[in-house]
C-alpha cells in the first residue's frame, strides 16, 4: 500500500477528471459459472461518498480519489458509437460500476445530461443505481422512460449497521415515490441480501414497504443477490469495520474465488424473496439473480438461462413485450447468443 492509496482517504473530496480511454464496458463481475446479465457499464464515476462495509471498492480501487468524468459529451459520443454499431441489441447501460449514480448529482449534473441523451437513443436504456435520496435534480427531465432509476435496497437493520453515510431506507423510499410519480421506470436491487437472526421478517417487511411505493407496471427489473466477497476483502471488512458482523456467518468459496453463504442458506433466502415478490407484484416483473450459478436459477425460479447471451436476450424480450415504447424492436435470440461476448 503506497501513500494515500487507502480507499477511504479519497472519499472526502470530489475531483473532476478528463475523459481518458474507453469508459463503456461489460460489467466487471462477468464469470463463466456465476451468471452475469451482460449489462454494460459506463465508468463515469469512480469511488463513492458512502461507506458500505461490504463494498468491493475497498479491495478494487487502486486510485482512491472520488472522481467524475467532466467531459460528458465525450462519454455520450462513445455510447452513441457503441450502440449504433449493434443496432439489433437492446443495451442496458449503468453508471454504478465504480460508484453511486446519483449521490453526487447536485454537484455534477451528469445524470440529468445522460437521461436527456438516452431519451433519444433508440436501442438503449440508462440505469442509474443509488443508495441516496438525491432525485430532485432529475424529476423534471425529459426521460421517455429510457432511464431506469434503481435503488440498492436493504433492511433497516442492514442500512443502519452496514451502509454507512447512505440515505436511510425511509428516505430512499420517499425518493423512490417521487421518481415513480415522475413516470420513470424503477429497478429494485435486493443485493446483497445479508443473513442475520431476523433476516426473514425484515426482508419481508422491506418488500412490503417497496410494494406500497412501486406499482408492478413501473418495475423495469428486480435483482436478488447475496453477500459475496473475495478472501482478501474479508480481511479488509474486518479491518475497516470492526463492529461489523458481516463476515461471521457460514460461507464457502466458489470457483470465482468469492465466498458466499452456503448454498442451502442462499436457496432459502432467495426462494422466500422470490415468492413474496411474485405474491406482491404478480408474474410480470422481470426478476433475476445476480452472480449466481445456473442451477440456482432453476431451483429458485424454474428457468434455465444457459448463457449470458440468453439472459441478455431475456431482458430485451421482456422490455419489448412489457415496455414496447422503450424497446420497440423484436429481439433476435440468435444474434444475442452469437455476439454474447461483445
Amino acid at each position: 500500500m503506497t501513500e494515500s492509496s487507502y480507499y477511504r482517504d479519497g472519499k472526502k473530496q470530489l475531483k473532476f477528471t478528463p475523459y481518458k480511454g474507453e469508459k463503456m464496458d461489460t460489467c466487471a463481475t462477468i464469470h463463466d459459472e456465476y451468471v452475469c446479465c451482460n449489462v454494460k457499464v459506463l465508468k463515469s464515476v469512480s469511488n463513492c461518498p458512502f461507506d458500505c462495509s461490504y463494498c468491493f471498492l475497498q479491495n478494487y480501487l487502486t486510485n482512491p480519489d472520488l472522481e467524475v468524468v467532466e467531459e460528458t459529451d465525450r462519454l455520450i459520443n462513445e455510447i452513441r458509437q457503441k450502440v449504433t454499431a449493434q443496432p439489433w441489441r437492446f443495451f442496458r447501460i449503468g453508471t454504478w460500476e465504480l460508484g453511486d449514480s446519483l449521490a453526487l448529482e447536485n454537484q455534477t449534473g451528469q445524470a440529468k445530461t445522460l437521461i436527456e441523451t438516452f431519451s433519444t437513443i433508440e436501442n438503449a436504456v440508462l440505469e442509474l443505481k443509488t443508495k441516496s435520496d438525491v432525485v430532485d435534480p432529475i424529476l423534471d427531465c425529459q426521460h421517455n422512460q429510457k432511464t431506469v432509476v434503481s435503488w440498492s435496497l436493504n433492511t433497516d437493520y442492514i442500512v443502519n449497521t452496514e451502509e454507512h453515510k447512505t440515505a436511510s431506507l425511509n428516505n430512499r423510499l420517499i425518493a423512490m415515490k417521487k421518481v415513480v410519480d415522475s413516470g420513470y421506470l424503477v429497478g429494485l436491487h435486493f443485493d446483497p441480501m445479508i443473513y442475520y437472526a431476523d433476516w426473514e421478517a425484515d426482508y419481508m417487511d422491506l418488500l412490503n414497504e417497496c410494494y406500497k411505493v412501486v406499482p408492478s407496471n413501473q418495475i423495469a427489473w428486480i435483482s436478488i443477490g447475496s453477500l459475496r466477497f473475495n478472501p482478501e476483502q474479508k480481511r479488509l471488512i474486518e479491518n475497516n469495520f470492526r463492529g461489523s458482523k458481516l463476515t461471521c456467518q457460514e460461507m464457502v468459496k466458489g470457483s470465482d474465488n468469492k465466498v458466499r453463504y452456503v448454498k442451502p442458506l442462499r436457496i432459502e433466502m432467495y426462494t422466500k424473496m422470490f415468492n413474496k415478490m411474485r405474491e406482491f407484484w404478480g408474474a410480470d416483473p422481470l426478476i433475476y439473480l445476480c452472480m449466481e450459478r445456473w442451477d440456482m436459477w432453476d431451483k429458485i425460479m424454474d428457468i434455465q438461462p444457459r448463457s449470458i447471451g440468453e439472459l441478455d436476450y431475456m431482458f430485451a424480450d421482456h422490455f419489448n413485450r412489457h415496455f414496447p415504447l422503450v424497446n420497440t424492436q423484436l429481439p433476435n435470440r440468435d444474434l444475442y447468443i452469437k455476439y454474447q461476448n461483445t
Binding site: M1, T2, E3, S4, Y6, E238, K263, P264
Partner: protein, 303 residues
C-alpha cells in the same frame, strides 16, 4: 581499542526495544571462553551505552562475570541510524522489532521512514501501530517469534481480544503456527459474533478445556480443536454433507459416487472401473433402478 570495565558500568537504553533471549550456544561459549567479541558502545554523558552486544552482556551477568571487554566508537551517524545499521539483520526479520525500534527512537511514521524499513504507509498506520505496541510484551514476543507481518498483525487485532489473550496464554498446549493461530481466532471470533456467546461458553462447547486436560501432544490437541471449531462454524454444510453421504451410502452402486463438498457445483460424479462386460451391465442395471435414480435426484436437489 578494547578495554575492560565493570559489568554494571554499561547502559543498554538504545537496545531495550529488543527482547531478551536465552541463547544456549552463546551461554556455553561465554562460560568457557569469556566474551571474545567486545561489546560495542558509544559514550553518552560519561556512560558507556551499548550499541551492539546486549545479549553478550546479559549472558555475562547471568554467569556472574564482574567485568567485560568493550570498545568505544564515535560514529558519524545519528544514534537511530547507527542502531539500524548494526541491527539490520534482526530488523529485517521481525516486523515487531521494526515497530518497537521506530517507537523507541520517536521516529515519525511517515512514508519516508516506513519505506526505509520496508513497511507500508497509509493514513491510519499510527493507530494500528499504537494498538500493536499496546499489546503485552508476551503478545509482542509471540508475534515476533512467529514472524507476523504488519498486515497479519493488524488482522489479528480485529479478532476478539479475549480470545487472543486466551490462545496466547495456552499456546504451550497447542503450539499454534502462524496460520492455525489466525484461523482459530478467526473462527472463534465469528462464532462469538454469530451466536453472541461468551468466550468461556464457547471454549466449553468446543471441547477446549477437556482437550487441555488430555494427555496428547500439542499438535494432536491443535488438530482436534480446529476440527471441532471448523465443524461448529459450518453447521448447514456439515448437516447437508451428512444427508448426501447417507443417500450415497444407501445407493450401493458398483461405482464411486462423489460430489462437490462445498455444494457449489451441483450434481454427482459417478466413476466406475470396468474389467468385463458384466461390470458394465451391473452398473447399467443399478442405474436403471428407480430407487437409485430417485436417490441421485435427491443428491442433485441438495447440491
Amino acid at each position: 581499542m578494547c578495554n575492560q570495565a565493570h559489568i554494571d558500568y554499561f547502559n543498554d537504553q538504545f537496545l531495550s526495544w529488543k527482547f531478551d533471549s536465552c541463547n544456549k550456544t552463546l551461554l556455553d561459549s561465554i562460560n568457557i571462553n569469556g566474551i571474545l567479541t567486545p561489546i560495542l558502545t558509544i559514550a553518552v554523558n560519561n556512560q558507556y551505552v551499548i550499541v551492539d552486544g546486549r545479549q553478550r552482556l546479559l549472558v555475562a551477568k547471568s554467569l556472574g562475570l564482574k567485568s567485560v571487554p568493550y570498545s568505544v566508537i564515535e560514529p558519524d551517524l545519528t544514534t537511530s541510524d547507527l542502531i539500524k545499521s548494526l541491527h539490520s539483520s534482526d530488523l529485517d526479520k521481525s516486523t515487531i522489532y521494526k515497530l518497537r525500534y521506530l517507537k523507541h527512537f520517536n521516529i515519525p511514521l511517515d512514508n519516508n521512514s516506513l519505506s526505509k524499513l520496508g513497511l507500508p504507509y497509509y493514513s491510519h498506520i499510527k493507530k494500528d501501530v499504537d494498538r500493536i505496541l499496546d499489546l503485552s510484551d508476551d503478545a509482542q514476543r509471540f508475534l515476533h517469534d512467529k514472524s507476523f507481518s504488519l498486515k497479519e498483525m493488524v488482522n489479528l487485532l480485529h479478532y476478539s481480544p479475549a480470545a487472543f489473550d486466551r490462545l496466547l496464554a495456552d499456546d504451550a498446549y497447542f503450539h499454534f503456527t502462524k496460520r492455525t493461530f489466525d484461523e482459530s481466532l478467526s473462527i472463534i471470533t465469528a462464532l462469538i459474533k454469530r451466536h453472541s456467546f461468551g468466550l468461556d461458553d464457547l471454549l466449553t462447547q468446543t471441547n477446549y478445556l477437556n482437550l487441555i486436560d488430555q494427555s496428547i501432544t500439542p499438535q494432536q490437541r491443535q488438530k482436534k480443536w480446529l476440527d471441532d471449531i471448523r465443524s461448529m462454524a459450518s453447521p448447514v454444510l456439515r448437516q447437508t454433507q451428512q444427508s448426501i453421504d447417507s443417500i450415497i451410502a444407501e445407493m450401493a452402486l458398483p461405482a464411486v459416487v462423489t460430489y462437490d463438498r462445498t455444494l457449489e457445483n451441483t450434481g454427482v460424479s459417478i466413476q466406475a472401473n470396468f474389467t468385463s462386460v458384466d461390470d458394465i451391465n451391473l452398473l447399467v442395471t443399478s442405474l436403471s433402478d428407480d430407487s437409485v435414480q430417485q436417490q441421485i435426484k435427491q443428491v442433485m436437489e441438495l447440491t
